[in-house]
């Protein structure tokens, strides 16, 4: 079992702890909607999407130690698969249980496609190739409106179908048991279920035979090979697994937004997801989740917090709030890494290693 379930309170009263967590998570969108309105429920949903992405990237970077700077490409593949198979663009409206597996599978194929030529590369060489791969995908998405219109170019694809199960649509307002559920709230519960599934898969993977093989490769590839690990297949598997998580997240992104364009899949997004993994605590699942939530919430909180502060300090808007908020964000990244180089919540083993190194 992972350390996640070994927190002090939880060991003594596991059932009580779990119920408390479940109730909090179930009530969260209502609490958020009451204090911050529907916009914050949407942000909450994005935080969960980023948890998917960060956990997927954590498999590649955190567990297997392969620095991937083009991870957002797989998210883009998933998003465009949903957009093409469920929108008026091609007149296709397939149900989610067909699209999501296709999206995950195609992203997985792209993962192997990226992984196979880069098996020999190490460290920073791998980083730049993955970065280039991400850019290539984005450029193709941006330009594949001619000679045949596949992606509709920079305008992107609009009017994408929301997630529907049978006749139940997740986009519209509806009431159940006398409680009103808005669209974003309903998505929250779907995403939450998916997130729990993804987290369980990740925790189980971490301590599985494959997970240990990944960590062995991260620590020392030559030794791992000598110990009988088929490094080629295991590395490819890391790329494929990470990519398919990205594909699923992409599909959900499409359904939630109803609109995709290449702009959403820039290098900066890849870098953001990487920052979540590293800032949270690489290779440590609770840390990665924390990183994803913090880095989604922080820019948004700054968006709402920066402007009133400026009015208070100067009496008027002195500096472009958008620039100021990113300024603070950049500064926060620097400061966190400066004072907690192993991340905010590193795994205990990692912390021990660092302490030994310093001593």
């Amino acid at each position: 079992m992972s350390n996640m379930f070994k927190m002090p309170g939880m060991q003594k009263y596991p059932v009580v702890g779990l119920i408390l967590v479940a109730v909090t998570l179930a009530a969260l969108p209502f609490l958020v909607a009451m204090t911050g309105g529907q916009a914050w429920v949407r942000i909450l949903n994005f935080a969960i999407l980023y948890i998917f992405l960060a956990l997927g990237l954590n498999i590649v970077v955190g567990m297997a130690g392969l620095l991937d700077l083009g991870y957002i490409a797989f998210y883009a593949v998933g998003a465009y698969v949903w957009a093409l198979l469920a929108s008026p663009h091609f007149g296709l409206h397939l149900p989610f249980w067909v699209i999501l597996p296709i999206g995950a599978a195609l992203a997985c194929c792209f993962g192997v496609l990226l992984g196979s030529p880069t098996l020999k590369l190490r460290g920073d060489y791998l980083a730049i190739v993955t970065l280039g791969f991400g850019e290539i995908i984005r450029i193709f998405l941006n330009n594949l409106n001619a000679p045949f219109n596949l992606t509709n170019g920079a305008q992107g694809i609009t009017r994408i179908d929301p997630l529907t199960i049978g006749d139940f649509s997740f986009s519209a307002q509806s009431s159940l048991f006398g409680i009103d559920f808005s669209g974003p709230m309903k998505y929250y519960y779907v995403l939450l279920l998916l997130a729990i599934f993804v987290i369980i898969v990740n925790v189980r993977l971490h301590d599985s035979r494959i997970g240990r093989a990944w960590q062995a490769i991260r620590e020392d590839e030559v030794a791992a090979k000598a110990a009988g690990i088929n490094t080629r297949n295991v590395k490819l598997l890391a790329f494929a697994m990470g990519a398919s998580f990205g594909g699923i997240a992409g599909g959900m992104f499409s359904a939630m937004q109803g609109f995709v364009s290449p702009e959403s899949f820039s290098l900066l997004e890849s870098i953001m997801v990487l920052a979540m993994v590293v800032l949270g605590g690489m290779g440590h699942i609770p840390g990665v989740i924390l990183g994803a939530v913090l880095l989604t919430a922080l820019p948004e909180a700054l968006r709402y917090g920066v402007e009133p502060l400026q009015h208070m300090a100067f009496g008027r808007q002195l500096i472009d709030p958008e620039a100021l908020r990113m300024l603070v964000f950049g500064l926060a990244l620097v400061l966190v890494m400066r004072f907690r180089p192993a991340g905010l919540w590193p795994s205990p083993e990692r912390r021990r290693e660092l302490a030994e190194k310093e001593a």
């Binding site: 970077v61 190739v129 290539i136 990487l274 800032l279 500096i319 620039a323 620097v334 890494m337």
Partner: protein, 308 residues
């Protein structure tokens, strides 16, 4: 044939700029083994500072053009040197013994910080380069090139020769090479490691400032986001040549510029009109992936084992 020559000339011009920026990446990487992700932003700041000084002096009137340019260049170089030094002190030195990815994140943080700082200072819009050089065009074999292009290539050449002299003929250069081979042994031999690392950042940033003024006067435009793609291309060039290798960065930069220009010129013909010149950016990355498949450490990189 005239397209070939034309694109070759354009590619060499662009390649000279890439090479100068790539040298900044490769010097830092060669010595402390990390990617200075904020280097593109340093180049951007250099361009902006040069533009500001040149515009101010040009509108004042009465100052001869070479002095204006010299002042702009000097201001940009000084400013970037300070920035490079500060960057190392704030974002890299405290993390020298931290896990490998930590300095990458601080670099990204600094990059976001500098970009937005530039946006606050210089605004969101494109800034036009003051029209002050008389562009003269020459024609050779059906291809046209301007005096600006000649100046860019010549300046880049002189700068690189100066750098090579510094690295291979001076005491400081010897200290730098020693540090890049083994910092601990270099320190035992009396090399002040911290000083060498600071200088690598300072020199790299100065080269970036020169490249910034070049790219600005070539395209006659500057923008607070310009450093990103330029940095990315230059980094690609450095990796193509074998990161950490000086000659590799120069060759890689020129090669990347030429490949990109030729690719953009011929892609339409090669694919029967299926892909247009807006796929220009793909070439850089395609070539990189193909080269690294066959030479996993770049064209001139030494085969190194896994770093611990």
């Amino acid at each position: 044939m005239d397209i070939f020559l034309q694109q070759l000339i354009n590619g060499l011009t662009l390649g000279a700029v890439y090479a100068l920026v790539a040298l900044g990446y490769t010097m830092v990487y060669g010595i402390i083994g990390l990617i200075n992700f904020a280097h593109g932003e340093v180049v951007m700041i250099g361009t902006m500072v040069a533009f500001t000084i040149i515009t101010a002096l040009a509108s004042a009137g009465g100052v001869p053009t070479p002095i204006i340019f010299g002042a702009g260049l000097l201001a940009a170089v000084m400013c970037c040197m300070g920035l490079g030094w500060g960057l190392e002190r704030v974002a890299y030195r405290p993390l020298r013994h931290a896990p490998r990815l930590a300095p990458l994140i601080t670099a990204i943080g600094m990059s976001i910080l500098l970009q937005n700082l530039a946006m606050i200072v210089w605004g969101r819009n494109y800034i036009n380069f003051p029209q002050m050089i008389d562009k003269v065009s020459y024609e050779v074999g059906g291809a046209i090139f301007t005096n600006v292009q000649v100046a860019i290539v010549l300046t880049a050449g002189v700068t690189m020769i100066g750098l090579l002299y510094l690295i291979f003929k001076t005491k400081l250069g010897a200290a730098m090479r020693a540090t890049s081979q083994n910092p601990h042994v270099a320190a035992l031999m009396g090399v002040n490691i911290n000083r060498v690392i600071s200088l690598a950042f300072i020199i790299g940033s100065a080269l970036g400032a020169i490249a910034g003024l070049m790219v600005g006067s070539y395209y006659e435009i500057a923008h607070y986001q310009m450093g990103f793609m330029l940095g990315l291309k230059a980094f690609t060039a450095a990796v193509l040549g074998g990161i950490g290798n000086m000659a590799g960065a120069m060759v890689g930069g020129l090669l990347l510029g030429v490949i990109e220009a030729l690719g953009a010129g011929y892609i339409g013909d090669l694919t029967g009109g299926f892909l247009g010149s807006h796929y220009q950016d793909i070439f850089a990355f395609m070539v990189l992936i193909i080269v690294l498949m066959f030479r996993p450490s770049g064209l001139f990189g030494e085969r190194t084992g896994e770093r611990a």
